[in-house]
């Protein structure tokens, strides 16, 4: 900005568009005369000058670094979830297959064959058992499988999507 704020600019300060306002504030931050004229009309305009205060680059870099870590952490957690799920399903299928063997039900396809890619509940149903989800959301997940005369309780990570 060349020269000082015009009187109409001072009077219409609240109605200036964002660009003109920012320009006026930047000038007032450096010019005691114009600052006095602007604040005489409305003292709280002094606080408009806070918009010109620089924030230390170190603080901003700290923010970016913390943000990057948090995004990496949350991405890592999301990536780990399917792995954990696959491992748990595989374990449950193997367990159910073993149980089917115990019940002596050899006439139908094996549980592992039928439930290998299915839901955990399906695998238990395939073994003619019953599945009760005993836990509440947010707690550990507990599955109670009753197959024939055998009862098996399985506990899963609460974050695992069953």
């Amino acid at each position: 900005m060349s020269g000082h704020l015009s009187q109409p600019t001072v009077e219409r300060f609240d109605g200036l568009d964002r660009g003109a306002r920012a320009e006026a504030v930047a000038h007032v931050a450096e010019c005691a005369d114009c600052r006095a004229r602007l604040l005489a009309a409305e003292p709280t305009r002094a606080f408009a000058l806070l918009g010109t205060l620089p924030i230390s680059p170190a603080r901003l870099d700290r923010l970016s670094a913390a943000l990057a870590r948090e995004i990496d952490r949350s991405s890592g957690r999301a990536a780990a979830r399917p792995l954990r799920r696959a491992a748990s399903i595989a374990a449950s299928v193997a367990l159910a297959a073993g149980l089917a063997g115990l019940t002596g039900d050899r006439g139908s396809p094996s549980v592992a064959e039928r439930a290998g890619l299915g839901e955990l509940g399906t695998s238990a149903e395939a073994a003619y058992g019953r599945v009760d989800l005993l836990s509440s959301p947010g707690e550990a997940q507990v599955l109670d499988l009753r197959v024939g005369g055998t009862q098996v309780v399985m506990i899963f990570d609460k974050d695992l999507e069953l």
Partner: protein, 202 residues
Amino acid sequence: MSHPPDEPELVRAAAAGDRRAFDELVRRKRERVVRAAYQITGHWEDALDVAQGVFLKVWQGLGRYDSRHALDTWLYRITVNAAIDSLRARGARGGLQVVLGPDADEVAGAAPEPEAELDRQAVERAFLHLAAGLAPRQRAVFVLREIEGLDAEEIAEVLGIAASTVRNHLMQARRILREGIERHYPGLVPDRSRRGPGEGRG
């Protein structure tokens, strides 16, 4: 030489999972977000926590961002809501008393001399002291209007309230701050009778 990507390009790329585009977006917006959060919460650590949460939400929600709305409006909305929550939480923990306590007189003594070069940090201390007397919404409106330079309609969109309510909050905030300046920081308001060289020029 390739030109730096414009904002819509960055948003599209970041929404598709491009971390470098997102980092650039953060670099462009972080100062504004941190400053607004700081002026509302009054504490750097709270402001940085708020800003981190804001950008994390942006990263997770960019895929659902409606580009018909200004990105800044969305950013300010998340920032203000999080900053108000943070301010209220600190108030509930008794944190506001730190600002309003015995240090107030010491802060008042640091008000800038009108003839001296502007001491922006003293202006900042005065604001943090006096703004602690505002309701969170009043403070947010004042910060968006006076420090960030948004107009009443933009603030209404950010806060999801009527423009008339924004003006009402602003009027109340100015009245409270004006009284605080007169009482604690008279040095912030220069004696205009001693001035004049710049008047009418420009």
